[in-house]
């Protein structure tokens, strides 16, 4: 360890070895990420799924709405490599076209839940006192609302708003508004843990204000558990969108999504498992990719693991 040299206080410091440039935390993180196989695997999956969401016609020329009942539950043939579902629709085409709404609803609702959860958890944990009591009890109340009941009431109300034709906005808002509580609780506890650390006291002693304390010291050291909760929430929300669509408060009309495909296919598992398995595989791979990406990024930004 070259660190040991530094202990010899009297010897003048040796000149820095050439080539060791000073790097920021972000540059260090990128340096690490580039070598991470998990990061690249996750990135490839996410890019493919995003392409699917943006230009589904790149992946299939078939129309997901071209359904012929006579093809019901038929096996793979020609372009329909995943076979046909109970209505005789091309499962592959439906899966490709389903990416758009699943990703859109999943990512946006998680972002919304993340912003609310971060703000509430940070405020409750950092400021404590009556604000903490108020916010924590509010979280308790939110957690007490049964998810389906809350989603139906909220979803119906939001869906009635004008300018909401396909129901994407309503579902996203519903999932975001009902999904932030766990994140807020996790955030609150890790903020409380971080703010009592000695280095926060040291910064306070120097005279650092609340903004510096929060954004330089508390938040960076409290984010890790929160990001894990969010990546898990992404999978949950993509699946919940299906539940809501099934109940009639989700996506409307002839919208296709993985969730809808999965919930439709569950009734016919024993007859034809394909229509259930393929969207599920895509869903699982996407969620896994986001979790892996979250993990890789979090580790890369943690100097202790470098």
């Amino acid at each position: 360890m070259s660190d040991m040299n530094a202990l010899a206080a009297e010897t003048p410091a040796p000149p820095s070895p050439a080539g060791r440039k000073s790097r920021s935390l972000a540059a260090d993180a990128w340096h690490d990420l580039r070598r991470s196989k998990i990061f690249w695997a996750a990135l490839v999956i996410i890019v493919v799924v995003l392409l699917m969401a943006i230009w589904p016609s790149l992946f299939t020329s078939a129309d997901p709405h071209d359904c012929v009942l006579s093809r019901r539950h038929r096996g793979a043939s020609g372009g329909a490599i995943f076979g046909y579902d109970y209505q005789g629709c091309d499962v592959y085409a439906k899966t490709v076209y389903g990416a758009r709404y699943s990703i859109l609803v999943g990512v946006c609702s998680v972002l919304l839940a993340g912003v609310i959860g971060l703000t509430v958890g940070l405020a409750a944990g950092y400021f404590g006192g009556w604000l903490d009591a108020l916010l924590s009890r509010f979280v308790d109340v939110m957690l007490g609302v049964p998810f389906l009941l809350g989603a139906i009431v909220l979803g119906k109300r939001l869906a009635a708003e004008p300018g909401n034709s396909n129901g994407v906005l309503a579902v996203t808002l519903t999932l975001g508004i009902l999904g932030w509580t766990t994140g807020a609780r996790v955030m609150r506890s890790s903020v409380i843990e971080a703010k009592n650390q000695d280095y926060v006291a040291a910064a306070r002693m120097v005279g650092a204000g609340p903004a510096r304390l929060i954004f330089r010291h508390v938040l960076p050291n409290a984010m890790a558990p929160f990001t894990v909760v969010l990546t898990i929430l992404l999978g949950i929300n993509i699946a919940s969108e299906a539940t809501l669509s099934f109940l009639g408060v989700g996506l409307k009309g002839d919208a296709v999504s993985w969730g809808i495909s999965i919930s439709e296919a569950t009734g016919y598992v024993r007859v034809a498992p394909g229509p259930l398995i393929w969207p599920s595989v895509f869903l699982a791979a996407t969620v896994l990719a986001f979790i892996m990406l979250g993990d890789a990024v979090r580790d890369a930004f943690d100097p202790k693991l470098r």
Partner: protein
């Protein structure tokens, strides 16, 4: 030497009570932990005042009060004629520059996600007028050099350093704003014995170089003996004896000091077992409910009924040439090595 103009830090009847509350929403106060209960200290320029006492006697709370990490319940902390306890906002921020602290645990006192350069440079970021922006990187490297670390290590993270090196980083951070006073809250107790000496020597040489005044808090009497000019012994939130370090170490008059000193390990095996060993019985009473009169009486072999009713003041007594808070203070030669 004891000129009043030399005073850099003074506390007057400093008190900190932590309320014990019941209930979550409607809190009611059911008592108070008297962590620091009326402490008067004076610190002169270039001097080291050692504060010793066992765990839970209020040493660390006292340190936090001195650097305004806690607001005192009552009393004053006077730095450069200003009562820090009354200040807030900008004026407190400015006053903080005169008094900084080295924290106890070098493993938790450095933000793991900041580079050493950012950690030591943080005081400059908080006080932009301390060093012009262009000179900050240079100033940080000078500080690293001053505490005996390689100035090229500014981009390393704390976990890449050993405990002793981390404590040097903590010292560099405390020095950044060029304070007159540094409060050292057990700065070496978390370090290996071999490293403790290096850090103590560094603190001493910095004191000579920069003319610093130290408040040196420790439970290790031999460390305090080495570095201190004057020593104050604390028990249950109060100072029980204070004086120049020879007076305390050679001629202790308070029974608690005598017991503390008798517990110091003796390096010479021939003297082992030959000296006066005082074993105290029982634990430190709860600071939420301290004994009446003299707080030490529950564990004191000299205690009389008089001690329960009359609180002994910290003053020079007939048989104690330096201030001692015991009615029956007298010199007892506990230790000689």
């Amino acid at each position: 030497m004891s000129d009043a103009s030399d005073l850099v830090l003074e506390t007057r009847n400093l008190v900190k009570h932590f309320p014990i509350t019941q209930g979550v929403v409607f809190k009611s106060k059911v008592g108070a932990v008297r962590a620091v209960d009326g402490v008067d200290l004076q610190l002169r320029r270039g001097e080291t005042l050692g504060i010793v006492g066992e765990s839970g006697c209020g040493k660390s709370t006292l340190a936090k009060l001195l650097v305004s990490l806690e607001k005192p319940t009552s009393g004053e902390v006077i730095v450069r004629g200003e009562n820090m306890a009354r200040l807030s906002g900008q004026s407190l921020r400015r006053a903080r520059r005169n008094i900084q602290m080295v924290l106890q645990d070098p493993y938790t006192s450095l933000n793991p996600r900041m580079t050493v350069g950012d950690i030591i440079g943080e005081p400059f970021a908080v006080h932009p007028d301390a060093v012009p922006r262009a000179g900050r990187a240079r100033a940080v490297q000078e500080l690293l050099d001053l505490v005996g670390l390689n100035p090229d290590h500014v981009n390393r993270y704390p976990h890449q350093f050993s405990g002793g090196q981390r404590q040097r980083i903590g010292i560099a951070r405390a020095l950044a704003l060029r304070p007159e006073i540094i409060v050292c809250d057990e700065p070496v107790s978390a370090l290996d014995v071999s490293i403790q000496g290096q850090v103590i020597n560094l603190l001493e040489s910095l004191q000579h170089e920069l003319g610093l005044s130290y408040i040196f808090i420790a439970h290790d009497l031999s460390v305090v003996r080495h570095i201190s000019d004057r020593v104050a012994v604390m028990y249950l939130g109060k100072i029980v004896e204070s004086g120049y370090h020879l007076a305390i170490y050679e001629q202790p008059t308070h029974p608690y000091t005598q017991a503390l000193l008798s517990a110091v390990p003796v390096p010479d095996p021939r003297l082992r077992g030959r000296r006066d060993l005082i074993e105290l019985e029982g634990d430190v009473p709860s600071p939420a409910d301290p004994p009446s009169g003299c707080r030490f009486r529950t564990r004191c072999w000299k205690a009389q009924p008089y001690c329960a009713d009359h609180e002994p003041l910290l003053q020079i007594r007939q048989r104690s040439p330096h201030p001692s808070a015991c009615h029956y203070a007298e010199i007892r030669d506990v230790i000689r090595y």
